[in-house]
């Protein structure tokens, strides 16, 4: 591989349901300022910028990187927008990673955001569907996600109770996350009794709708020391896809995620993910997905996810804590969510997690994705 790449600065906004004090561009600036300050740098030190945000129909501004460039203060630098649905934050980081690894830039700023309070979320996500083929039945991706969860219940035993435990765990973890805005613990009964929205998905299986932004500074090994003596090194990163209506697409185990994990684990030398990783951050748009990810990421075998959450292994005190930040349950500015997972994983191995630091975390896994559950990426970070 090319040059070694480290995360040397991270920043995110205090996410909230609605920010009426800043524009989309202002939100971006907040995260950028924090990441640059964390890396002890200014925008002048940055060679290139990657902007990632969710689908443009979320926010009424087409190609919004061309607007927010002024707020970033990045005029005349290389600046590009990378999109990949809900996983766009991680996809953007991957593009930045290759700019550094491939010698195009020594330091890249990656910033991701969404200001979901400004648009009609389910309406705009529903336009993911082919206008000829099923769009009139679309409920964002909630109807679709719930439908395949229902299918996984029968085949893999991903019960409503097991998913409820994901909500309980992540909301508990979010209590300690200063950037999360949903701060309310729930019980399994609360989740089970919450209002069905797209059954089996119920209100408390669903993350909040958030305004938020996140940014990271990626650096060559040579320049990393100027920012920190403890970067989070990227041992591997990949982002794979699956044709949305391909024959034989099972949707029971996420094949693109399994492929991404397999490839990245090979690069990073991971042979036993459950044992090797100290901490995992996953982007769970609905609780049911976290169960599915356990299996696709190899934290347990297919069909064992319900038992894994029930055992407490993925809780803060378990042997493989998943989402100590609270994941999307605490805040979900969709376009930023993948980058937030990367930031939380990086902060863990840098020893500076804002909320629930896992003691001596040395190796972290971050997962992200979007679309029809068919865009899936992972990153492995090490101290």
């Amino acid at each position: 591989m090319g040059r070694h790449v480290g995360i040397v600065g991270v920043g995110q906004t205090h996410h909230s349901r609605r920010r009426t004090d800043v524009s989309q561009a202002g939100l971006v600036r907040e995260a950028v300022d924090r990441a640059l300050a964390d890396a002890k740098l200014t925008i002048e030190d940055i060679d290139s910028v990657v902007v990632a945000s969710g689908p443009v129909l979320f926010a009424a501004v087409n190609q919004p990187e061309k607007w927010v460039v002024d707020a970033i203060g990045a005029a005349l630098k290389p600046l590009v927008r990378v999109t990949s649905g809900g996983g766009t934050g991680l996809a953007g980081a991957l593009a930045g990673y290759y700019q550094v690894a491939g010698g195009f830039a020594d330091r890249v700023l990656v910033v991701a955001y969404d200001k979901l309070s400004e648009g009609a979320l389910q309406y705009s996500i529903s336009t993911l569907y082919d206008p000829f083929w099923g769009r009139e039945f679309a409920v964002g991706i909630m109807g679709f996600s719930a439908a395949y969860w229902r299918a996984r219940m029968d085949v893999l035993g991903h019960t409503e109770e097991a998913a409820a435990m994901v909500a309980v765990k992540n909301r508990h973890n979010a209590m300690n996350n200063p950037y999360a805005h949903v701060k309310k613990e729930v019980t399994v009964e609360d989740v089970m009794n919450s209002k069905p929205l797209a059954w089996p998905i119920k209100l408390l299986d669903v993350p909040p709708i958030s305004d938020g932004a996140a940014a990271v500074v990626l650096s060559t090994e040579k320049l990393a020391a100027q920012s920190t003596d403890r970067p989070a090194w990227i041992h591997g990163m990949g982002y794979f896809c699956e044709a949305d209506n391909a024959a034989a697409r099972s949707l029971l185990v996420s094949e693109p995620l399994a492929i991404a994990a397999r490839r990245v684990y090979r690069t990073a030398g991971i042979t036993n993910p459950r044992r090797q990783f100290d901490v995992v951050e996953v982007q769970e748009p609905y609780t049911c997905f976290e169960l599915s990810y356990y299996e696709s990421l190899g934290l347990c075998a297919p069909g064992e996810a319900a038992e894994l959450i029930r055992s407490g292994a993925t809780s803060l005190s378990g042997d493989i804590p998943v989402n100590p930040s609270g994941g999307c349950a605490g805040a979900n500015p969709i376009g930023a969510a993948g980058l937030i997972r990367l930031i939380e994983a990086a902060a863990q191995v840098m020893g500076k997690a804002a909320g629930n630091q896992i003691p001596n975390a040395k190796l972290a896994l971050a997962q992200s994705g979007g679309g029809w559950a068919n865009l899936r990426g992972v990153a492995v970070l090490g101290a």
Binding site: T20, D21, V22, S23, A25, G26, R29, D33, I43, L57, A59, A60, D70, A71, G73, A74, A75, K115, S117, E118, G119, A120, Q122, Y123, S124, S126, T127, Y129, D130, P131, F132, W133, G134, R135, E136, F137, A138, V139, G140, M142, G143, F144, A146, A147, Y148, W149, R150, A151, D154, P196, L197, A198, W199, I201, A243, N245, A246, A247, A248, R249
Partner: protein, 312 residues
């Protein structure tokens, strides 16, 4: 260079698709104050602390330097035209308000293209009855004798506008192409659902397509799939949202028609929805029910009904 001729030339008028997306946009501190102050017929700018640049209309971030620390100033309603053009939107010029370090675009009113000169003095023309929009200034008109105004500190700034309603209206005319063309023509005229065979000839891809998604090899011949199928995945929709096309509660279903290898997205109904969980599951057998109308879309299928009548 489409390699294949249309296998079944169809002259289908394009599918019209309209999206009308509502928004509530937040202008931020600077633009929010600028828009609020237009109600008092005051023009607000930003003076950036580090560079000293004055930017009118007010911006949160200096477009010249990227600075973010600023104080509000009140700018005059007079300035100079630095350049102009005319488009279908009207006469548009770049205006430099007296004392500003940058221009901004606005409309030119009460004038014509031939009367415009670079460097001419202009003044704002106020519009009545327009709130929270830069169009509270209708535009700028020639004002040869307008004295050069001054930038002053802004006294008693109004509360910034926090949210502005907005709408994007998008109109599309989507081509059917050879594959969707035949698919929907057959649905319309024959009430047949046609797929294409996979490259191996095993089963049908639906909707039909030129290449196989998995192998990227050309697909095979057309084949009719059955109008019966199996529910592969389902959910019960109670959520209501802006832009929704069906009235909840309804079932979102992904159905594999017999003979097809891929999904058709539709709804299953014809029973008491309170029994939906027990009646409709992955594996449930269903059959298409057609409407009287023939539009050449999936909407020609009203819904899917349960095949096992006893289940009702």
């Amino acid at each position: 260079m489409l390699p294949k001729p249309d296998t079944f030339p169809i002259d289908m008028a394009p599918l019209k698709s309209d999206l009308s997306m509502p928004y509530t946009l937040t202008p931020g501190r600077a633009a929010g104050a600028f828009l609020a102050e237009l109600g008092q017929r005051r023009i607000v700018g930003s003076r950036f602390k580090k560079s000293g640049n004055v930017v009118v209309p007010a911006q949160d971030f200096c477009p010249l330097s990227g600075d973010s620390e600023f104080e509000f100033v009140e700018a005059p309603a007079t300035g100079t035209l630095t350049t102009f053009t005319e488009t279908a939107e009207g006469l548009i010029g770049l205006i430099r308000i007296d004392g500003s370090d940058v221009d901004f675009p606005h409309r030119l009113v009460d004038t014509s293209l031939d009367d415009l000169r670079i460097g001419m003095r202009v003044e704002a023309v106020w519009a009545d009855g327009i709130d929270n929009s830069i169009l509270a200034i209708a535009g700028f008109r020639s004002s040869p004798n307008a004295p050069v105004g001054m930038i002053r500190p802004l006294t008693d700034p109004a509360q910034a506008v926090e949210v502005i309603p907005y709408r994007l209206d998008l109109h599309y005319e989507h081509a059917f192409g050879p594959y969707y063309g035949r698919l929907f023509d057959e649905i319309k005229t024959q009430r047949r659902i046609m797929g294409v065979r996979t490259p191996d000839g095993e089963g049908a891809l639906l909707p039909p397509r030129e290449i196989c998604d998995v192998t990227h090899r050309p697909t095979g011949t057309w084949v009719e799939v059955k109008q019966t199928g199996t529910v592969r995945a389902m959910s019960i929709i109670n959520l209501e949202f802006v832009g929704q096309k069906q009235a909840p509660p309804y079932i979102y279903a992904e159905i594999m028609l017999d003979g097809a290898l891929t999904r058709l997205i539709h709804t299953v109904s014809g029973f008491d929805m309170s029994r939906a969980k027990e009646l409709v599951k992955p594996g449930t057998r269903v059959r298409a029910v057609w409407r009287e109308t023939q539009t050449g879309s999936l909407d020609d299928i009203s819904h899917f009904e349960l095949i096992d009548a006893d289940a009702k």
